[in-house]
């Protein structure tokens, strides 16, 4: 396996960083800063020079220009602010530019589903954003922590594998497309073939965008429930930038400093700009010491996990062309300790390594036509190793017995290209192509040709009058392994009913592709007889979405926004297990089931002086399959959720206090049981609800150092109980793990730039 010699690599990396300032000495630059009327930095403003070349300011509002613009003129725009035209003062090498806020400060910028970043208000999609401030204030351990207090998102912990499965708006995680900067993640594994979202470096995440409802026209298979687009940090305009983060956390009441028990996060990031080039590198470690809980022997309730992440990138750009290459490497080991034994103790290690190469770019031929593309090549391998410890001799060695060490390899290539063609003032066309090639192999996967998927899509954006946007879309795909739906249509509309009120209505067709495992995975032993079914076709859905978005300013210090959303999803041909008619001893997969979800969400955001409050409520219905057989079973089972997110800025102390809260309501369901006469009947089962609360504080010291501290899972939740008798094949019992109890964290972030 790819194991790092940490010391060696770290040293190399430090040397690189040390060498950087030497290269930067010679440059003379103009340094600008974009601030708001209060003098606070405005992040990511765009600085347009006369020759149409754009620069983007960094998080702190800083930007640099290598030469004076023509006649010193520049235009500065930022989301949420009025655009200004200004002149660079002659003879000065540094200057601040003040932007005044536009009517709504609550505006955010989104990129998912769009050709280029645009304000969330302008987007035809209803996009939820978890902003960089929220992520910074929270100082999370992993992305799951950030998402789990979002409305409509539930995680179920798979403590056998040390991973977790996600559910979005009542649909399982395999229906959710996970993107990194718009690029689909591959590496479907585990029991339900979904992406393990925690295999992403938390330190590189800038913000997260969640789009509910199918995005299959643009993103293809599996974007049936929605899309989660994880936007990674982009470089600021600094010459060079070095950032280091160390965070220590307890895991419940278990902790040992810097190693072993507890969570230990450390990360170093550096970036450097030179003429048209920019380079970046980062290395992170995220080690989780596991949690023993009730276990007293060698076993853990939550398995220990070590993660190493490496990112390297290089970019080049001029006024019309931008190219960026990124390499991401993940090395993850999950340790599963076997029980105490008198002779042989067996431990398992699940080792994941993933190499991901990305090439993205943008080319603007002229003001009428531009192209963006995102390509990725991913090599994903997951190895299970069995280690033997002999209790009598103390020997520790890897088992060589057949079947005790297995590997699954997964190779994926994806290429998406979208053009943006402004035909007229009111009409834009966006044609695109999307290629996805994947190949899986492993001990239990039958020989296969892989899956090749080729798709073309076209969407148009028509704005007959300025308050109306209509975006129809169509996708046609061809797949080598399964029958694709004929044509995937979608229609998104947005109506600005008045200055403060927007209505969005959408219809979309979504589909989920059968995975390589569902097609080709065979598993036979004394207690399993499972085969894949190569004749599966895609699951398809019809989905309707609507939302009302009302933003208003009660007075200059109090702004609010309210979003009311509703959705209805109807899934056909859902893939489910059944008995093979040719051999009833064998279990295989069929397109048989029907499934529906529906519900509504209500979100309110208030910004009052130093306080920002987001409060949400959702009520989601999930279809009961048993209602087809048993009349007493209602068609839908409903679950409420409430969340709140309060941020208070304590200005004199340069501190921020944030509270995250979510109530996940009880989840009802039905299962078949036998009544006293042995006839099948339906019984209602209930998975308990629970409350979750995190509090965190962030304080800045000087310009470089910030400290995060806080407590997670303040209400000390560990397990919730289910009244289900059967449960799944591995009999998870009546207790479902949710958390490992109240935990505390302390983190330091140091940033140095020039």
């Amino acid at each position: 396996m790819h194991r790092f010699n940490l010391n060696k690599h770290f040293l190399l990396f430090l040397l690189l960083l040390l060498a950087m300032p030497l290269w930067t000495q010679a440059q003379t630059v103009l340094k600008g800063k974009v601030v708001n009327t209060k003098g606070e930095a405005v992040s990511h403003a765009t600085i347009w020079l006369a020759e149409l070349k754009g620069e983007v300011a960094d998080e702190q509002g800083n930007f640099t220009l290598t030469k004076l613009p023509k006649e010193g003129k520049l235009k500065i725009s930022a989301v949420g602010f009025e655009t200004i035209w200004s002149t660079w003062p002659a003879g000065k090498t540094s200057e601040s530019f003040v932007l005044s806020a536009s009517t709504s400060e609550l505006e955010t910028v989104v990129v998912t589903g769009n050709f280029e970043p645009q304000s969330a208000r302008q987007s035809v999609y209803q996009v939820r954003t978890i902003s960089s401030e929220v992520i910074q204030n929270r100082a999370p351990r992993n992305i799951q922590e950030v998402l789990s207090t979002e409305l409509g998102i539930r995680f179920s912990q798979d403590n056998a594998l040390g991973s977790s499965n996600m559910e979005l708006l009542g649909m399982s995680g395999q229906n959710v497309k996970i993107l990194i900067d718009g690029i689909p993640m591959v590496g479907r594994q585990g029991t339900s073939n979904e992406i393990n979202i925690n295999q992403i470096d938390i330190n590189r995440i800038e913000r997260v965008e969640i789009v509910e409802g199918p995005m299959s026209v643009v993103y293809g298979a599996d974007a049936l429930a929605g899309v989660i687009n994880i936007i990674t940090k982009s470089d600021g305009s600094e010459k060079f930038d070095v950032k280091a983060r160390v965070q220590e956390e307890t895991v419940g009441n278990e902790y040992s400093p810097f190693d072993g028990k507890g969570t230990h996060i450390r990360s170093v990031t550096g970036s450097y700009k030179f003429k048209n080039w920019d380079f970046g590198a980062s290395f992170s470690q995220n080690n989780f010491g596991g949690w023993k809980g009730e276990e007293t022997g060698r076993e853990y309730e939550w398995l220990p996990k070590d993660q190493n992440f490496l990112n390297l990138k290089a970019g080049w750009g001029n006024e019309s062309l931008n190219l960026e290459y990124q390499l991401d490497f993940l090395d993850e080991t999950v340790f599963s300790y076997g029980p105490e034994a008198r002779l042989e103790m067996l431990d398992q290690e699940f080792i994941t390594s993933r190499w991901m190469h990305r090439l993205s770019g943008r080319w603007d031929t002229n003001s009428k036509f531009g192209v963006t593309w995102q390509g990725a090549f991913t090599d994903y391998a997951r190895e299970s190793q069995t280690w033997v410890t002999n209790a009598r001799t103390g020997e520790h060695y890897q088992s060589q017995a057949p079947g005790t060490n297995t590997t699954i390899d997964y190779i994926g290539f994806s290429w998406r290209m979208i053009g943006d063609w402004k035909i007229a003032e009111k009409f834009k066309l966006q044609p695109g192509i999307d290629l996805n090639l994947e190949n899986g192999s492993g001990e239990r996967i039958t020989e296969n040709e892989g899956i090749q998927d080729y798709a073309v899509f076209l969407s148009g954006e028509w704005s007959p009058i300025s308050t109306i946007k209509i975006k129809p879309g169509l996708r046609k795909s061809w797949n080598s392994a399964y029958d694709t739906p004929a044509l995937i249509p979608s229609l998104n509309t947005k109506f600005a009913l008045n200055e403060n009120l927007d209505l969005r209505l959408a219809y979309a067709n979504g589909f989920r592709a059968p995975s390589i495992r569902e097609l080709y995975f065979n598993f036979f032993d004394a207690s399993h007889s499972i085969t894949g079914n190569p004749d599966l076709k895609a699951e398809t859905s019809n989905s309707f979405n609507g939302s009302l978005d009302w933003k208003t300013e009660v007075n200059p210090t109090w702004k609010t926004s309210t979003v009311l959303g509703a959705f209805y999803n109807d899934v056909k041909d859902r893939i489910a297990y059944g008995q093979d008619p040719d051999n009833i001893q064998v279990t295989t997969l069929f397109n048989v089931e029907h499934y529906k979800t529906t519900g509504f969400t209500l979100n309110q955001a208030h910004s009052f002086k130093n306080l920002t409050a987001n409060i949400g409520f959702s009520y989601i219905g999930r279809y009961n399959l048993l209602s087809e057989e048993q009349t007493v079973v209602p068609q839908m089972s409903w679950t409420p959720e409430v969340n709140a997110n309060l941020t208070y800025q304590i200005s004199p102390w340069r501190s921020t206090a944030t509270l995250f809260y979510k109530w996940t309501g009880a989840l009802p369901g039905y299962e078949t049981t036998a009544d006293s006469e042995g006839n099948p009947s339906a019984t209602q089962i209930m998975l308990d609800g629970y409350h979750w609360m995190d509090i965190s504080f962030k304080k800045d010291f000087g310009g470089h150092l910030s400290v995060n501290a806080g407590a997670r899972n303040i209400l000390d939740v560990k397990q919730i109980s289910s009244t289900s008798q059967g449960g799944d094949a591995h009999g998870t019992g009546t207790q479902r793990p949710v958390g490992y109890g109240r935990s505390y964290f302390l983190g330091l972030t140091y940033q140095l730039n020039k």
């Binding site: 029980p339 034994a341 008198r342 002779l343 042989e344 067996l346 033997v388 057949p402 079947g403 042995g678």
Partner: protein, 353 residues
Amino acid sequence: MKQYRFLSLTALLAGATIFSSCDDDPEPVIVPPTESGIIEVDGGGAEYPNTAFIQFRTGTQTAVARESWDLAFSSGSDFKVLINGTTGAMASATGKTDISTVGADEIAAAEASGELILTFTNLEGILHVDDAANPLTNPAIASISSTDAENEVYLLNRGTSAATERPWKKIRITRNGTGYTLEHADADSDTFTSLEVSKNAEDNFVYVSFENGIVEVEPAKAAWDIAWTAGTSSTPYPDATNGTLAYFFQDLVYSNIYGGVGVAQVVETDIAYSDFTEADVFSLTFSTNNRLTIGSSWRSGGGPSSSPAVKEDIYYLVKDAEANIYKVRFLSLTKDGERGKPSLEFELVSEEL
């Protein structure tokens, strides 16, 4: 291991001493029972191909492929025949007594009902297997009657565990003096073969393979105490016929009840394994009518975050046919991480007087 080698060596030396000193003594040589040892059970590996018969007083084991036999003819005073539960075999009576008239119709009926396939969905499976705990009390094939007309033809699925899937057979067994006559053929065949099987007083059963005739499987009835094997077991299940579901379990331990071996289970918290002495034997009742007294009780099944494991809090007392009493505990399910190779240790508690 070392301990075992050392002790068996002393046993041998002791034997050798007896040999050398009593060279010309016509009396049979008495080898004292092995005091203690560890046995790495030769289950054959992850596919569990073997049944391993273990004898403590010699510290030896005999491994036999589970698929090597099909029928076991009782050597006792009764006339009973067992099917091979260690491959998951199942049998159904056809209601006919002429083997040549059984064929496509019976096969089709059994295939349609799924009654001859051992799965969790076969709720009447228990009717088509031998009793798991004491097979001679309730075998799938009715006792062989002295009245030939009462002996029906059975349809037999030979089982698919540790065996390639083989065509179903049809069989009919009748008495032949003090022995048996077996008629057998592929279930859809027009012809059949006959085989005469005599009882053997040294053995519990005489074993027959359809391909190889009479075969050696089980050691002589006085020559083994417990056997590790995969095989058909049963579990209470309300929906199933008689409230019992037949299912296949891969870590069963039989005791030689027909050879006079008794087994008792002890919980570690009552008397620790290391503290158990001869005096404690009197508090125990040895079961001699349930070969599954050890059965599957020695290991836990595992769960979502754990693998199957040996239960640390249970051990067993085994009284062999010569009334030597051993304490026995299981150590491991694996050898070098490979399943199907469990190990156990044993220690003599009380020697035959």
